[in-house]
């Protein structure tokens, strides 16, 4: 932890934590490496699908005819429609591809917002302590004890009254569910870091509070964040799909959303129409698995707890707190 001496290039110092992380990832081998890399591959696959959706997908997500010919309704997979068509006569393959765009947009937005709200709150609350800390902890605990779907649904109601239904509304309502998690993890970590010798040293040397929090504490705490962020991204996809399934999510006239498609497919299942539900469902499973593998892999690589040949006594792993 010698890196904490306040000297040297500012840039190098700022990203010391991240660089250490990258180095650890590079050094990974064995099962953790396999897990991490296959997770990255899956996520990358979906990112490519999302970015190039208009090029990859054969049709638009709400397109029901090509030329002047209307697509058949609920047609089985065939050469013309590889994954078949839905009850709205849209192309399932196209909806699955465009759905990855919706999912990733929402998740990215949700994770970024939760990071920008949860991490600073946790930092401040943990470092300053006192009344502010106690108040915030109470509120966050209460939020945590709230049935999460209900919370997301009510927030979605509130927002759709103000800004309409759509990607931003979905992302923000999901955010509310995850902020308390970031807050908890970051705050607890800050509390333990706060008492570390190098932080004490910086304090003794007369460093400003902002410098201490921003530089030393933040540097240290931020290491946990990628793990939680990826695991939360996985969870956020499930929450988005759940909202869609219950009918509170993104509507088909706005974008393609997997959860909504599954909710419609439940009607189809009884009629032996399996393709409308199976493919969006598999897409969810695959993308969530991808994120989880990245998170688990990162955890294995970065978290010294369960690494081989370590002499240090074990601590509670970070993902336990996040789950």
């Amino acid at each position: 932890m010698a890196a904490a001496v306040p000297k040297g290039s500012a840039k190098a110092r700022r990203f010391a934590g991240l660089r250490r992380m990258v180095a650890e990832v590079r050094a990974a081998r064995g099962v953790p490496k396999w897990i991490l890399y296959s997770g990255i591959a899956i996520v990358a696959f979906f990112v490519i699908l999302a970015i190039f959706a208009p090029l990859i997908a054969p049709y638009g997500f709400d397109q029901v005819q090509s030329g002047a010919v209307r697509f058949p309704k609920q047609a089985a997979p065939s050469g013309a429609h590889l994954f078949g068509t839905t009850v709205q006569s849209t192309d399932v393959l196209s909806r699955v591809i465009f759905g990855s765009r919706t999912a990733l947009e929402v998740v990215l937005l949700a994770v970024v917002i939760s990071l920008f709200v949860g991490v600073p709150l946790g930092l401040i609350s943990g470092y300053l302590g006192g009344k502010l800390d106690r108040g915030l902890v109470l509120i966050m605990d209460a939020l945590f004890a709230f049935p999460y779907l209900l919370l997301a649904i009510v927030i979605a109601f509130l927002l759709s009254d103000k800004i309409g239904q759509g990607i931003v509304t979905a992302a923000v309502s999901i955010t509310v569910v995850y902020v308390p998690q970031y807050f908890r993890v970051v705050r607890n970590h800050v509390i333990s870091v706060r008492e570390e010798p190098y932080v004490e040293a910086a304090r003794a040397l007369g460093a400003k509070r902002r410098t201490i929090v921003g530089r030393y504490v933040f540097q240290n705490v931020i290491q946990n964040v990628p793990v939680i962020a990826t695991l939360n991204a996985a969870d956020a996809i499930l929450t988005l799909a759940a909202l869609g399934f219950l009918g509170y999510g993104i509507q088909p006239t706005q974008a393609a959303e997997w959860g909504y498609d599954i909710s419609r497919a439940i009607d189809d299942a009884g009629a032996g129409i399996w393709w409308t539900g199976l493919f969006p469902g598999l897409a969810i499973v695959l993308l969530v698995t991808g994120f989880t593998l990245v998170g688990e892999g990162l955890n294995d690589v970065l978290n010294p707890v369960i690494r081989y040949r370590r002499i240090k006594p074990p601590q509670i792993p970070a993902d336990e707190e996040a789950s």
Partner: protein, 345 residues
């Protein structure tokens, strides 16, 4: 940081005192969320059928336009004295909603949890024991996959396969309509259909209830087992490296015995903690399972009442639910404090 020597009693009292503000904040939050959410039950029920003026007159009559502070004070007073009132839309007492629908949710949750424990513990132990072997990898991947699948998707597949294609199991509901009526005519001491039917000696109803329970319980249980696998595995690996395990090994005790007798027991402590919390969130996440399997539990009622803007019902259900979560986490802490004195601070 731990102040040694604090008595268990002081800890318990402090811990209980601390959960009171949490409950209070929860109550306030439910109240605010429900009032800020636009619309009221009259609007939800009759909007699009009678004029706006009429809706306002009706809302006034129902007292929905009272100042928010008055409503809040009334609500807190009622909550503290345990008067949760009647739902605004279908005039049910919150108590009966909790008994009738809450019991359904609880019955399903317990059954699912039993499945989760069996599956989660066995796979978790195997994975932790044979670290980095194909068993470990397989177990982990199973855990990740099952956790990645939304319950409504696995439920959909299970219904499609076991109910629709094979015709082995009923796809939804808690019992068949005739059994429901049959049970409602007899004594219902617990409102757990499995228990009630056994107590009254109604074995056909029992069998019917078991059949209906299998699909939802297994689907939900497998989902939760994903979390347990992850936990058990990690904790077992940690304890396997503990001094006392090494000591046991040094004494020549077989590896099998070491795992089962020594490591597993200790690995279980954090598992119990998280499992308890998981059980609490299980109730909250019940909405999806219940919607998928048409299970008449409290989650699906909650969504319905929310749609109808029945804030009394929503408040009542969430209040009781939130208190349950707080109590569960309190209990976990207390149990831990009792078991492990280091926790008290």
């Amino acid at each position: 940081m731990a102040r040694q020597g604090t008595s268990l009693r002081t800890y318990v009292l402090t811990r209980i005192a601390l959960s009171i503000p949490t409950v209070l904040i929860l109550l306030t939050m439910v109240f605010l969320l429900m009032r800020v959410a636009p619309g009221n039950p009259i609007q939800a029920a009759l909007g699009g059928h009678v004029s706006e003026k009429q809706i306002q007159a009706r809302s006034k009559r129902a007292g929905y336009d009272k100042p928010i502070v008055t409503q809040y004070v009334n609500y807190l007073g009622d909550a503290v004295t345990g008067h949760l009132g009647n739902s605004l839309t279908d005039h049910r007492s919150i108590g009966s909603i909790l008994v009738e629908n809450g019991s359904a949710t609880l019955e399903l949750s317990i059954a699912a949890f039993a499945v989760a424990l069996v599956v989660g513990l066995s796979i978790g132990i195997l994975a932790g024991r044979f670290r980095d072997s194909p068993i470990d990898l397989g177990g982990r991947l199973f855990g990740i996959f099952i956790y990645a699948a939304p319950v409504f998707f696995t439920g959909f597949l299970a219904q499609l396969f076991f109910s629709h294609t094979l015709g082995w199991l009923p796809s939804s509901g808690r019992v068949s309509p005739l059994t429901e009526f049959d049970l409602s005519q007899g004594a219902q001491p617990t409102h757990f259909y499995l228990i009630d039917s056994l107590v009254t000696g109604n074995f056909s109803a029992f069998w019917d209830a078991v059949q209906h329970l299998i699909l939802p319980a297994v689907t939900l249980g497998l989902l939760i087992s994903g979390v347990l696998i992850r936990l058990v595995r990690v904790n077992l690996m940690q304890t396997m490296k503990g001094d006392y395990v090494e000591a046991a090994r040094a004494r020549g005790i077989s590896e099998r015995r070491v795992v089962i007798k020594h490591a597993f027991r200790n690995a279980l402590v954090p598992v119990v903690t998280v499992a308890g919390l998981q059980f609490a969130t299980l109730l909250g996440g019940a909405i999806l399972t219940e919607e998928t399997f048409n299970w008449p539990g409290i989650g699906s009622e909650l969504v319905r009442y929310l749609n109808e803007r029945d804030y009394i019902a929503v408040q009542g259900i969430v209040t009781v639910f939130a208190i349950a979560v707080v109590v569960v986490s309190l209990l976990i802490d207390l149990v831990n404090a009792f078991v492990d004195p280091r926790v008290r601070y």
